[in-house]
Amino acid sequence: MKYLEAIGKYFIMIWEVFKKPTKWRIMKSLILKEVDDLVFGAMGIIIFISFFIGGVVTIQTALNLTNPLLPKSLIGFAARQSVILEFAPTFTSIIMAGKVGSYITSSIGTMRVTEQIDALEVMGVNSLNYLVFPKIIAVMMYPFAVAVSMFVGITGGWVAAVFGGFAPSGEFIKGLQMDFDAFHVTYALIKSVVFAFIIATVPSYHGFYMKGGALEVGKASTTSFVWTSVVIIITNYILTQLLLG
């Protein structure tokens, strides 16, 4: 019952976010600030993780392809499929749920605790629109981050394969081009848009409706990370079934 109430409250929150918009002149600057904080601010960690995950996937694939009859190009093929289909959109989203999600929950939660949200409401500002809408728009840049993650992940795989002596560069690149289906990239980008919406709204919900003091802000950040991850994983299953099934 508690969960049903929370789900209902979440959807009411989403509805409120799009009501009574803030002036565009103000909203524009808020969006640009959020793009900087939420997307560009997370690029460093996305690039770092993607590079090494790409490398690890390649090494593990290479170490499991022990049969000499299997071509080395399969290493590139497996790395490409893993990175594009799953690691770039889903794994990066889970990381973003931790980094960006906890930032959103704690910043909105702190505003709640220090009565800044009450101050907005008293002034007649639609606080949900003012606080959450720019975050939703900003994270719509997230497919760009996922595209970068795909490129860096595959580059990491190539570096691991070539410099680790698992496959020659030509074979790896041949594997990357093998049976390439462009829809897989589209599928990954569609997923990343949905995950971005979840990353912006679920942590906002936990921050906006939190009660208590500083300790509860920390607890809300942790809860928000758990729930954002759970929702991403369930949505990932549903989207995969719908788009590829």
């Binding site: 002036k23 220090t114 009565e115 800044q116 009450d118 101050a119 409401e121 008293v122 002034m123 007649g124």
Partner: protein, 255 residues
């Protein structure tokens, strides 16, 4: 003027406000006092429109809150200024940004017009060199003054203050009290202050409303509070030895 008619408010089974009726006059400093848990904050939030009463009505210069549309309610809120207990300044904005915020949100004034208005109100609250500082870089007393400046920048008709001098030293607390009182008279605002500070009660309480367990126990002026024989009021207001002596001296002087 704000007229309150028999308002009730409950949270679950907890009946917080139990039929409060009163009125707050324009141009006067009205104080709400009472023990913690007496319903002061809930009452103030009902007046602000943050909580909707379960029963009863609140009328703002002839406009019944319960009868207003969502749009009219938002417009009414733009006639209100609020000074929160913890100031509630936006951390990410400078002092100037905080005070300019309502002007940015609700007016179409040019940059220079807004700047002039911000300079004027900051000067009015005696803050001259803090424009570019962030809330974390200024003292608690200065934060309160910024909060007052932000609350009055839109020329509100109603000013609400939730414990405006809590956490301040006695000298700064008196400065803040006097500033609120001066602004109330100067701009003819209906000011309602939620306070525990008995010094404020004695100094600026042109009307005092005493709440006890969600009921209106007593109301009167700061002159009448000296004379009242209401046990609950005297127990609360004159709980300190100092105030007991002040009251005794006042009554002896009168006799």
């Amino acid at each position: 003027m704000i007229e309150v008619d028999n308002i009730h408010k409950s949270f679950g089974e907890h009946h917080v406000l139990k039929g409060i009726s009163t009125s707050f006059e324009k141009g006067k400093t009205n104080l709400i006092i009472g023990q913690s848990g007496s319903g002061k904050t809930v009452f103030l939030k009902c007046l602000l429109g943050l909580f909707e009463p379960d029963e009863g009505n609140i009328c703002y210069n002839g406009r019944f809150y319960s009868e207003l549309s969502t749009k009219d309610r938002r417009n009414l809120r733009q006639e209100m200024g609020m000074v929160f207990q913890g100031s509630a300044l936006f951390d990410s904005m400078t002092v100037e940004g905080n005070v300019m915020f309502p002007l940015d949100m609700f007016t179409n004034q040019s940059r220079s017009e807004k700047q002039d208005r911000v300079d004027f109100v900051l000067k009015r609250v005696n803050l001259i060199d803090a424009h570019k500082k962030y809330p974390s870089e200024i003292s608690g007393g200065m934060q309160k003054r910024v909060a007052i400046a932000r609350a009055i920048v839109m020329n509100p008709k109603y000013l609400f203050c939730d414990e405006p001098n809590s956490g301040l030293d006695p000298k700064t607390a008196i400065l803040i009290d006097n500033l609120i009182h001066e602004i109330t008279t100067e701009y003819d605002i209906t000011t309602i202050i939620n306070t525990h500070d008995m010094n404020s009660v004695m100094e600026i309480g042109e009307k005092i409303l005493f709440l006890k367990n969600g009921y209106k126990e007593w109301e009167g002026t700061n002159k009448e509070i000296f004379k009242t024989d209401n046990q609950a009021v005297t127990d609360f207001v004159y709980s300190s030895e100092l105030f007991k002596k002040v009251r005794q001296m006042y009554l002896e002087e009168r006799n």
